[in-house]
Amino acid sequence: MSAHRAQPEESQRDEATLQHARVRELVAAFADGELVREESREVEEHLRTCAGCRRELALQQDIARALSREPTPGASVSLRRRIGWVGEPERSPSRRWSWSWATAAAAMVAAIFAGTLAVMHPGVPDRAPGEIPLLRDALADCSRVMGRNFPRKADLAALSASVPFPVRTLVQPDAELFSTWKTTLAGAPAAGLAYRWRGIVVVQYAMATEMIGREPEVARALSGGGFYTAVHSAQSVVAVLEGGSATVVIAETSPEQLRRLIL
């Protein structure tokens, strides 16, 4: 009789053990938001009663967060120049390619864009972003704070109180604000904010709306409620007017991705 009673208990224990093992396999994907709704629900339910899996979740999140903050090397000026030649018809036999480049180069062509390429949305800008004082200062400030690995504080309340315009943060839930600072762009106060977003750093500058009016190309692009979009070296620059202030966002991603982040 007792053997008969033990069977369902054993079976329940086996099932719980199997579920625990299965959930443990899914915890990393759960932390990364990669599970379908049904699987997420199963993990959430299991986490309520399993301290071990909760610790595993914390561990997975901590490692992912710590890695996303790690500094990474960037392209040298020389590489940027060489990449800039891709697709351009070859002009000079004296141009030097490195080992792996030489064979491809013969078949390819050379010499294009000279550092800055701007793409307006809508329309075409008259000046490249590096020549527009407001954006030139924003790019320089961005480069400066990145070089110093960003101010080590993220105090949105203090930053908002220190500038005479509203500071709106980016709304995407996976954009993590990790640094704030006050700066000056084209002679006027601006608020700087840095986020980690999908493995990259996104820098946002908020400023008074009238700042945009001083730059004809940017103002024209924004006049119909649209975006100003440009690419400067490896960085995309997007400007938009929203919530009583102007916002300029800079990151090493495509302009389309950056616009999505702002929306």
């Binding site: 396999e25 899914l26 915890v27 990393a28 994907a29 990364d32 990669e34 071990g52 909760r54 610790r55 595993e56 914390a58 561990l59 997975q60 901590d62 490692i63 992912a64 710590a66 890695l67 996303s68 903050r69 790690e70 500094p71 990474t72 090397p73 960037g74 392209a75 040298s76 020389s78 590489l79 060489r82 990449i83 891709v86 697709g87 351009e88 490195s98 080992w99 792996s100 480049w101 491809a104 180069a105 078949a107 390819m108 294009i112 864009f113 390429l117 977003w197 493995g199 990259i200 690419v231 070296s233 490896a234 960085q235 995309s236 090493e252 991603t253 495509s254 302009p255 389309e256 991705q257």
Partner: protein, 186 residues
């Protein structure tokens, strides 16, 4: 004129990823070697640009080309400098999960110097390190990593999970041993 338009489209689509590709290339080579891989990647990407259907997929597409270039060119696979015993790391990870701390890694991570965790990826198996790096450092989605590495998405899931577990085990082990693999910030 048509060629000009193609070049402009190529630049707008690929150039924003230049720094991220150099960062990724640094897992296979240092300095000039990494930049050579990236340069070759752009050359091949230009020639195959007509095959890129969706500009939003440009980064994983470039990653896949870079990975092929690096695998072809690498003279040695001995970049796993400090490969350590897996079972030892697995045990250390299990101890962390069995501890009574809600965030068992907090104390170890707070003492790390910038760059040391990324460097520690060299101490775990290549396929696990690659998946973790593509996701956590370079922001690729699981689906994109599956495309880049040509493995099923379930394998990506398992590699990321296991890779982070081994890194966690490594953190604990190094902290206890006060070994130099993780240099601590003052």
């Amino acid at each position: 004129m048509k060629e000009e338009a193609k070049r402009a489209s190529f630049q707008t689509t690929t150039l924003p990823y230049l720094n991220r590709l150099v960062a990724l290339a640094s897992r296979w080579g240092d300095g000039q070697e990494a930049e050579d891989y990236v340069q070759e990647t752009y050359a091949r990407a230009w020639m195959a640009f007509h095959q890129l259907r969706d500009p939003a997929s440009a980064f994983p597409w470039l990653c896949k080309i870079l990975r092929t270039v690096a695998n072809e060119r690498r003279r040695t696979v001995a970049r796993r400098r400090d490969l350590v015993f897996i079972t030892e790391l697995e045990n250390a990870h299990e101890e962390l999960v069995a501890s009574d701390q809600p965030s068992p890694l907090e104390q170890y991570l707070s003492r790390l110097e910038a760059g040391s965790l990324r460097k520690a990826l060299q101490s775990i198996p290549e396929d696990l390190a690659e998946a973790v790096e593509l996701h956590d450092l370079h922001g690729l989605k699981y689906r994109e990593i599956a495309q880049v590495t040509s493995v099923p998405i379930g394998t990506v899931m398992s590699r990321i999970s296991r890779g982070r577990q081994l890194l966690a085990g490594l953190l604990k082990r190094e902290d206890e041993a006060e070994a130099p693999a993780f240099r601590r910030a003052e």
